[in-house]
Amino acid sequence: LYKGHTCVGCVLVVSVIEQLAQWHNSTVKAAMERLCDYIPEKLQGFCYMLAELYGPHIAELIDREMNADVVCHSLRLCKQEPGQLLCHLYSPPKVGLSVAIRKAKRITKTSKDLKSFLGF
């Protein structure tokens, strides 16, 4: 169940970041910094740490027009359980959700720090 909730949380947060960048016509990195600035001071450190870890990958994937579903699956914060459907909130991308996820995973695969963080 926590996996399900983690996936919901990831899609919510990535959607907000994506829409902040769109609304303010800024980079994804700037959008993340803006979101962390909005958060009360005592929680900003945690926010910046997450932005540091996940930011580059989220930015790279969003810049390639990938939606929150694809980003969160490629970060393995959303998982398709064996025998279960591939869960998504948004309409699937034209190339198909599975294809988009595989492509995104290739992009994030190269990242060492992400791998170590995910292990943690």
Partner: protein, 451 residues
């Protein structure tokens, strides 16, 4: 293996687990289950302690020697009238049929709410997240604004009305006598352990025991320690109570096959009767319990499915139907029987809900208990929607925008009025008498120490 494995943190972890499992205040120096700290199950959830260094001083207890010397029950009334030497508590509250409010419930009873401004980009600013630390330390619940135990002015839209505020207005001796022992994910499976959390301590005034027994939730029983505080049956003054059934949060299913895992009428009867029998062996004589039926959750799909979710407002790309499907796919849907495009399943779920309501009606009609009488009322969703329509509102405005599922602040406040009127007209004995000394209490003790 876990951060709690570190010796230094082991104790802290144990305390956190104990508090979380037992729905107890995290900060409670005298261990009397009442706190001077707002969140972490503090006074947002229970009447504020007026002396957190004295375990015999807490809201809702029988006054110590009529509080001639100090305010032992935190209702702000104490001391002796110099004119005649009679303690004020004795003069104004003796025989006044005072009552508190105790709610055992689910996320609806605790008043679950995720602020939509956290995901409405067009209005987002630093102001949007000011309440984030408080919200998380209250488990995303807002009991301080809730329908049964609310006492602060709402900051999440709508207005606050609650049974507690109405009881307090009816009899100022009830000040601060409230306990909201609800949990996100409450169910009839764990309502029994929740009810066992009624921790009976010496001296209790009359109190309203309001139970939101949520059922049809397929979940393992969670063992909850005792956390509600009240008086021993021997010398407790009668409780009266509501057993509010069937909040919207009723159909939690982790299983694919929803219907097969829905609480059956037989389970329902067993769970609720067990809970009531337990209460009967603990509640003071002369208490009352009101059962309410289940909501018809088709209201949610019918009024929301094709509307845009806050996340979908900017690009018009996320409807509630998509949200429900996403949650159901992840098996974290709070209500897969009703939050589904499958109309047949929605209708079957409502059919079962009606069966379960009839179980409650039958319990109220036929079961007899030694220490309380028991009544039944339908869950007032239709009346609430009707009230709101008369006020120019639309039904979808009664539902939490982010989760698309819980009753929101407006629904909570309107629901209070409906339940109150019903009790007032059909079971006035349950609400106690109006206290003729209210004005004098207010003249002498003003806001009685506030909340």
């Amino acid at each position: 293996s876990s951060v709690c494995a570190f010796p230094l943190l082991a104790n802290l972890c144990e305390k956190i687990k104990y508090v979380l499992r037992n729905k107890l205040p995290f900060e409670d120096f005298d261990g009397d289950k009442f706190s001077t700290f707002p969140t972490l199950r503090g006074y947002h959830w229970r009447g504020r302690d007026c002396n957190d260094k004295n375990t015999t001083v807490y809201p809702g207890r029988r006054p110590d020697n009529w509080d001639a010397k100090s305010d032992s029950n935190c209702n702000g009334i104490w001391g002796v009238d110099p004119k005649d030497g009679i303690p004020y508590e004795e003069k104004f509250c003796k025989g006044a049929d005072s009552k508190g409010v105790v709610l055992l419930g689910d996320s609806a009873g605790a008043h679950f709410h995720i602020p939509p401004e956290w995901m409405t980009i067009t209005q987002m600013s630093a102001k949007s997240f000011v309440n984030l630390p408080m919200a998380f330390s209250d488990e995303l619940d807002w009991p301080q604004f809730s329908e049964i135990t609310g006492f602060l002015n709402s900051t999440i839209g709508g207005w606050t009305d609650s049974l507690y505020l109405r009881l307090r207005k009816r009899n100022r001796c009830n000040h601060r006598d409230l306990q909201n022992i609800s949990q996100n994910g409450g169910s009839s499976g764990n309502i029994l352990s929740l009810i066992k959390s009624i921790h009976y301590l010496a001296e209790a005034l009359l109190s309203a025991l309001i139970l939101t027994a949520v059922f049809c939730r397929f979940s393992s029983k969670t063992s909850l320690h005792h956390s509600i505080k009240r008086g021993y049956q021997a010398f407790g003054v009668p409780f009266w109570g509501f057993l509010i059934q069937g909040r919207i949060g009723i159909l939690f299913f982790r299983e694919r096959d929803t219907l097969a895992h829905m609480t059956t009428p037989k389970e329902m009867l067993s769970n609720v009767v067990q809970a009531l029998q337990y209460l009967d062996s603990h509640l003071p004589n002369g208490s009352h319990v009101i059962l309410t039926g289940l909501v018809d959750g088709r209201f949610l799909w019918d009024n929301l499915h094709d509307r845009y979710h806050p996340l979908g407002q900017l690009n018009k790309d996320v409807t509630y139907s998509q949200l429900y499907t996403f949650l159901d796919c992840l098996q974290v849907s709070p209500c897969s029987g009703w939050l589904t495009p499958n109309e047949t399943l929605r209708n079957l779920t409502s059919e079962r809900a009606l069966q379960l309501s009839n179980v409650l009606k039958e319990i109220a009609r036929s079961e007899k208990f030694a220490n309380f009488d028991i009544f039944y009322m339908d869950f007032p969703l239709r009346q609430t929607a009707e009230e709101w329509r008369k006020m120019g509102g639309e039904p979808w405005q009664l539902i939490e925008p982010v989760d698309g599922f819980h009753p929101n602040q407006i629904a909570a406040a309107l629901g209070t009025g409906i339940i109150w009127q019903r009790a007032l007209h059909e079971w006035p004995q349950v609400l106690g008498k109006a206290n003729p000394f209210n004005d004098q209490i207010e003249a002498i003790f003003k806001d009685q120490g506030g909340h």
